[in-house]
């Protein structure tokens, strides 16, 4: 086995006909797609023929990620977590972004429950062309009353389509919810099997085919639980080793996360090869919690664990100012680290500019470019946008680092006949490049107007300075 473990060993399981049915020019290219997780063995149609059955099975086995991918929920809104295979995102793009669940207590009034569920489901923010959402509802059995829990979980299920987490350490409550009839077919996550209740909870997980979280504060006990449940035929598990939010215990939670991920990814410990969950909502425990400082803390505790392998988090606040940094961080962490940093330089037109339209300047750092272009478009401004090659750096960094070359502007101007496109000779530059005003004027012979520091202010700026 060891000597075969290479690019070629994966290749050896393919039909090797270079037939192209997978959409790739040959089998070797398909291998590279498999390695990058951009294709699955099933994408090779010939491999699905009976005669390749064994090879297919071997290939699938070879490509199983060390962290199991677990699906919660059904249908369109299903949440997929885990499936990870590396310790660091530069090794291979992380996929399956951290799922964010918002809690609902069964002690809330019915009206409030419905309202909260709808708000979670409706939550949506668009950043750089991506719609960012909250993904699940975690229903807490705070009442300790199985009947109330059953009623509320059904109410939640009727109020929104999001996947659910049923939270109770009491198997009776979990059973009541599952037997309620509206929840079981949604394949909720059962939270949680512990050293005390594992018999009953694993029975429920099997009976209703639900994923289940295991909870224990000691990693040996966590492993005991996953091992035992696996022996009972349960595959979809999630690990919770406790979310400590302060004091030296916080250190233990951070350590545990790294250790669990490391033994699974690097040391082949299958019993720890499951997604990890954290519960930043913990910060809201207690009688007198200040809503502002607690929302603040919840956000940074969540961020801390997003930076340490959180596959699922349960949070409490619905304040956008607190959620926004967390979902933005999630977007950052799950961005492909190998995606191009820059867009092409040159001239773009926004709307339908004419000879009197403004000419603006930005850099070819993709984030900067898309932000500026988006702001101009949504403000309905007809203009020319000159995109400068700053080696994919943002304005401030490239000005400081010397990648913002005024002379390149002149080259772009002459290559696109800028002086024929507009009658005026005025260029609006980013506020953060103000320092280069003189240099740009010298090299282009255009009048340079220093624009705002942020493109969100362009509309106001233009109406003031551009007749």
């Amino acid at each position: 086995m060891p000597e075969k473990a290479s690019l070629l060993s994966i290749y050896s399981y393919l039909p090797q006909t270079n037939c192209g049915e997978c959409g790739e020019p040959n089998c070797m290219v398909f291998v590279s797609k498999l390695l990058e997780r951009k294709a699955n063995p099933e994408d090779c149609p010939p491999l699905k023929k009976p005669k390749y059955k064994e090879q297919m099975a071997k290939l699938v086995e070879l490509l199983v990620p060390p962290i199991r991918e677990v699906k919660i929920g059904v249908g369109e809104d299903v949440v997929k977590i885990g499936g990870k295979e590396v310790m660091y995102r530069h090794e291979l793009t992380y996929h399956n972004p951290t799922a964010i669940a918002i809690d609902v207590s069964d002690l809330m009034d019915d009206g409030k429950i419905v309202e909260r569920c709808r708000a979670v489901e409706a939550f949506s923010l668009v950043r750089i062309g991506e719609r960012l959402r909250l993904n699940m509802i975690a229903v807490r059995c705070a009442s300790k009353d199985p009947d109330r829990f059953s009623y509320v979980t059904s109410l939640v299920a009727r109020s929104c389509k999001l996947p659910l987490i049923l939270c109770s350490f009491d198997p009776k409550s979990l059973r009541a919810a599952l037997e309620g009839g509206q929840v079981a077919n949604r394949r909720p996550l059962l939270y949680a099997a512990t050293e005390e209740n594992w018999r009953e909870v694993s029975e429920l997980a099997k009976q209703y085919n639900c994923p289940v979280a295991v909870f224990a504060l000691n990693l040996g006990s966590v492993k005991s639980l996953t091992k035992t449940l696996k022996a009972r035929g349960i595959q979809d598990m999630i690990i919770d080793f406790g979310t400590h939010t302060e004091g030296g215990l916080l250190k233990e939670s951070v350590n545990n996360s790294v250790m669990v991920r490391r033994v699974a990814v690097q040391r082949g410990d299958k019993d720890m090869g499951y997604p990890i969950m954290f519960i930043p909502a913990m910060v809201w425990m207690g009688e007198e919690v200040d809503p502002v400082t607690t929302s603040y803390k919840e956000a940074y505790i969540a961020s801390l664990f997003l930076n340490r392998y959180a596959d699922l988090i349960i949070t409490h606040t619905m304040e956008v100012w607190s959620l926004l940094p967390v979902i933005t961080l999630r977007q950052n962490i799950y961005t492909d680290p190998r995606k191009p940093v820059s867009v092409d330089s040159g001239l773009r037109t926004i709307g339908s500019p004419h000879e009197k339209s403004p000419v603006l300047l930005t850099t070819n750092f993709s984030l900067t470019y898309y932000t500026v272009a988006n702001d101009l478009e949504s403000a309905g401004i007809d203009c020319y946008l000159v995109v400068l090659n700053t080696e994919g750096l943002a304005v401030e960094v490239s000005v400081a680092g010397g990648q913002f070359h005024p002379s390149d502007i002149k080259d772009i101007f002459s290559s696109v006949n800028m002086e024929e496109k507009v009658k005026h000779r005025k260029l609006i530059i980013p506020g953060l490049a103000a320092r280069l005003k003189g240099d740009i004027e010298d090299s282009t012979n255009w009048e340079v107007i220093v624009g705002p520091r942020d493109s969100s202010q362009i509309k106001g700026f233009l109406s003031k300075y551009w007749g």
Partner: protein, 405 residues
């Protein structure tokens, strides 16, 4: 046994890859380096995959299966150097204490392996003239913005900054064109006002900065300040020679590229500046505006250093106050909620992220961020006795019932 196998296997594969060199397949070109990266996880999977589900009869087990967990400790061949910032009387300076950063022997906060010797340190931004800052930052400094000495004092005494970062922006020819000599006077004033160590920053003007930093280095002789920054576009040799002559530390700044960072470090080392006098600034992008690049950059740098790349074994500076460049931090918006909370939180999350990725020294603007980060570091360094930790904490188990509605 298994580990040995994995190790041997990894070695073999890497050799194979190296032998093959850059692999060219029709329509795809895989660089040897990339291939190594892509293959590593797969090797892991290969070695581990064959454990199929044990064919244990599914039965109602009466007792839990026993399992042991032992912490997966690794050894790293390299370590990060320790950089001392500030000099006390006994070292020829006048600072009250020395701030030590770096010296890592493992990745950030992998304290199950060992507790890295030095805690992350925090410096707050001070400017030598009133400048435009986000309102939620400005409100804490309005009374001191006219005087950098007062400003510095407030950062140290009221907000707990370990270090003061004095940015001499007025030296920019397009701003006030203050002379290096006059700028140096400001440095002297601030050194007298506070007993914390200093980072001395320029305006970003590549001609002026080296001259200004040289003048500042001279008046601050022996104080072991941090000169910010040397880069390939300015006269870094002048800065390095001033740092050597007057005993300071130099920031090596590169925009977002590990190879360029390595090259610049090499250049400074070749000028005779010891590693112990270099801090890297590989660029900190704001949350939502390229922070993903910064995460991977810092992790790669830290890992490379620990794995023995001696050109990348310096501590890392993270100017997390760059977070304020993100519009989400300062823009008024009904949709996003009050910017008074959103702004500092944006900086806090940016800083936490770079701290977890490997930052050693943090430049911050908002007092709330300093407080939160210091508290977190306190927790992440607190010694806890294991018995106590693993006694099932009642509190945690009660979250289901004890969170309000």
């Amino acid at each position: 046994m298994k580990e040995k196998e994995t190790e041997a296997l990894t070695k073999k594969l890497i050799e194979l890859v190296e032998r093959l060199g850059d692999l060219e397949i029709e329509n795809v070109e895989i660089k040897a380096e990339e291939l190594t990266l892509i293959l590593q996880p797969v090797i892991g999977a290969m070695v581990q995959a064959p454990q199929l589900l044990p064919k244990v009869e599914e039965k109602a087990l009466e007792t839990l299966l026993k399992a042991e967990f032992s912490p997966p400790i690794e050894a790293y061949p390299g370590e990060v150097v320790e950089v001392r910032i500030g000099a006390t009387k006994s070292d020829g300076g006048s600072r009250r204490k020395v701030v030590k950063i770096g010296g890592e022997k493992t990745m950030p906060f992998y304290s199950f392996e060992l507790l890295n010797p030095n805690r992350p340190a925090f410096t707050m931004d001070v400017f030598d003239m009133p400048i435009t800052l986000a309102k939620s930052v400005m409100q804490h400094f309005e009374d001191v913005m006219q005087d950098p000495a007062d400003w510095a004092k407030k950062c140290v005494e009221d907000f707990g900054a370990d270090i003061v970062s004095l940015n001499l922006v007025s030296t920019d020819p397009t701003i006030k064109d203050v002379s290096p000599k006059d700028a140096a006077k400001t440095v002297e004033k601030v050194l007298q006002a506070v007993d914390a160590p200093l980072v001395i920053g320029g305006s970003g003007n590549k001609v002026k900065d080296p001259l200004m930093l040289e003048a500042a280095a001279e008046v601050a002789s022996g104080e072991r300040c941090v000169l910010n920054s040397a880069n390939v576009d300015n006269d870094y040799k002048r800065i390095v020679s001033a740092a050597k002559r007057y005993g300071h530390v130099v920031v090596a700044f590169t925009p977002m590229d590990i190879n360029n960072q390595k090259k610049l470090n090499r250049l400074l080392l070749d000028e005779g500046l010891p590693k112990e006098q270099i801090i890297m600034d590989p660029t900190t992008a704001a949350l939502g505006y390229g922070l993903d690049y910064t995460i991977s950059l810092m992790e790669r740098i830290k890992l490379s250093g620990l794995l023995g790349d001696s050109d990348l074994q310096m501590p890392i500076l993270s100017p997390s106050s760059n977070a304020w460049g993100a519009r989400e931090a300062w823009m008024k918006s009904e949709e996003f909620g009050p910017k008074e909370y959103r702004g500092p939180l944006w900086e806090t999350v940016t800083a936490i992220t770079t701290m977890m990725a490997g930052g050693d020294l943090f430049m911050l603007s908002h007092p709330a961020t300093v407080r939160v980060l210091k508290g977190l570091v306190e927790s992440l360094y607190e010694e806890v006795d294991v018995e106590h930790v693993y006694k099932p904490s009642k509190k945690i188990q009660d979250w289901i019932t004890d969170i309000g509605v």
